[in-house]
Symmetry: C2
Subunit: 345 residues, 2 copies
């Protein structure tokens, strides 16, 4: 691999996403992407006794589908990278514990799908791992309780608020050309061409009901650095997909980039907008949470790439790195966004 | 780089620890390693208004010393890797925010110094980064409040309990031979030869006042895999240094390895035992927290390596990945341990 420009890493062997999997909750299963998820759980508890264990079971389901899709047993993973929104990332920890594989815990909030996939790709390209797993999840109930209010309180949500997705995604990364059931079936391999690691941007937004606005500057910074480093334009891509900016954050991202003469309107989409029908599902500004971009990327998007319907995309997952404690102490919300340039075919 | 055995990665270019720095609290500054820390703060608040902001200031101090030691400005870092024990890792987030560098957040609990240093080394060796920073911290007051009891409660601590270290460590990794002030002064370069990524081990310990016991199986697993992969013996090393097993966990580690005919007694030491005088300082089983192994490695240990007093060591930092929520929900404590093989001279 080599560094290009100031901040982008070019992967010469272009590691492949050998398999992917997703799991989602009932509400997500009633949304526009219902048919794309590997599994939709009608029961918000997934048969578990706590929200946190339900989230862990959701994540385990997504990763299991990803391993099946790649035709890989957990014992073959050289490393698994994951994290989530729960305090001390217990959703991911308990999945990794049960699999008994080398594990690197991450904390990237809702950017975790990009962070884990980015690191998995770098570790495969470098030879540190032959097979690497990347995963993350979120659960509406565990998140709301931890970050905002007890569910029973039934607090009113402002229009800028986003709805935490109950969802999870997992992907298995290996060398391009690794034989998999999907490749044998004639599907296009999905490869990682470049990655850009995000910088924390914080313009002073301190409203936990407006996470999109808090994260938009980080997305703008990362996308702009990537385009400059690769000397490419938005029109060079089929899709520039952000993680969970929602309607408010997406509008701000487009505006921020416009100021620097970059127009992404023709190719931009956001997982938080795609996953719900905002009008019918009362999700206000859109979906959010680690599981938002993870479940959308590892289902609808990767499937379209595999089918050759998307050939050249940027996936830029955004995260808001505040905690309830920092928030109560008057700190604003630091945002981050990591990017992968993915191709198919 | 190349994989050797089942789980170990050999670094062919042997990236170097170009600089390191440490900061510690008052109690740590009264312990046996007092003279090794770059800075000891008498004021537990470091002039900040909250424990969490104090921890962030402590971490910023350690990383600043590391950058000075390496002769590197923050703007030259291609990536910074860090994490801590606080919910959503806000100690590290706010350091990274202020530095405005590409940032990868980690969650490895008390194993974070090994996890961050290991990933920094892999990213440098692979060419993904020319200069990478690794950092972590803990603070007695922020940890006790979050994990155990309000400080004001003054709860009694059993003999197996450990004392969370108020401390932080930072290191800058770059290519071997990168000119630094320390190298020009004739000091030995410190290099990373091998790394082994930990697996989560959980033998069912569910006592938050006995973290050493919860983490010992993970340390045994990682050390054993490393020794097998490299076909080496404990006597091949000057020191096998665990992170924060303390007295109870260290005894268990030695016992667990003994069962597999591995005797580390002659070369084993533990940062949690080194940092306090257990008899005089009333710290029971020893120190703990991310800042324990970080502040000991990035001061006393690295200084001794630089001076040629230690030439060949294994650093194996251990982490307990539970959360107060998982604990209250009856889950046992998952442990993890990541290892680096470091040489000097």
């Amino acid at each position: 691999m080599q560094r290009i420009g100031t901040s982008t890493i070019q992967l010469d062997t272009t590691p492949a996403v050998l398999g992917f999997g997703s799991a989602a909750g009932k509400k997500e299963g009633e949304g526009p992407l219902a048919g794309s998820f590997d599994r939709v759980f009608e029961d918000v508890m997934l048969g578990e006794k706590t929200f946190e264990k339900a989230e862990s079971a959701l994540l385990n389901t997504a990763l299991t589908f990803a391993m099946q899709d790649a035709g890989v047993a957990a014992s073959k993973l050289d490393v698994l990278l994951g994290g989530d929104l729960l305090n001390q990332c217990i959703g991911s920890t308990f999945v990794a514990r049960d699999l008994d594989v080398p594990y690197l815990g991450l904390y990237g909030a809702c950017s975790t799908m990009a962070e884990s996939l980015l690191l998995a790709s770098l570790l495969v390209e470098s030879g540190a791992a032959t097979l690497a797993g990347a995963m993350t999840s979120s659960h509406f109930c565990s998140s709301e309780r931890q970050y905002r209010f007890p569910l029973e309180y039934g607090s009113q949500r402002p229009p800028t608020a986003q709805w935490t997705v109950t969802g999870a995604g997992g992907a298995i990364v290996g060398a391009l050309g690794t034989p998999t059931p999907q490749l044998r079936s004639g599907n296009s391999p999905i490869t990682v061409q470049h990655v850009t690691i995000g910088r924390i941007k914080d313009l002073g937004i301190a409203d936990a009901n407006n996470m999109g606005a808090a994260m938009a500057p980080a997305a703008a910074d990362t996308i702009e650095r990537f385009l400059r480093d690769t000397a490419t334009q938005p029109r060079d891509y089929d899709l520039i997909l952000t993680g969970d900016l929602g309607k408010v954050g997406s509008a701000l991202l487009i505006d921020l980039l416009h100021r620097d003469q970059i127009d992404i309107t023709a190719v931009h989409s956001d997982c938080g907008i795609l996953i719900f029908d905002g009008e019918k599902q009362d999700t206000h500004a859109g979906g959010s949470g680690c599981g938002c971009s993870a479940s959308v990327l590892c289902s609808y998007i990767f499937k379209r790439m595999r089918q050759g319907l998307l050939k050249n995309i940027l996936f830029c997952a955004t995260g808001a790195l505040m905690s309830p404690t920092s928030f109560q102490q008057g700190e604003s919300i630091p945002g981050i966004a990591h990017l992968l340039h993915l191709t198919a075919g």
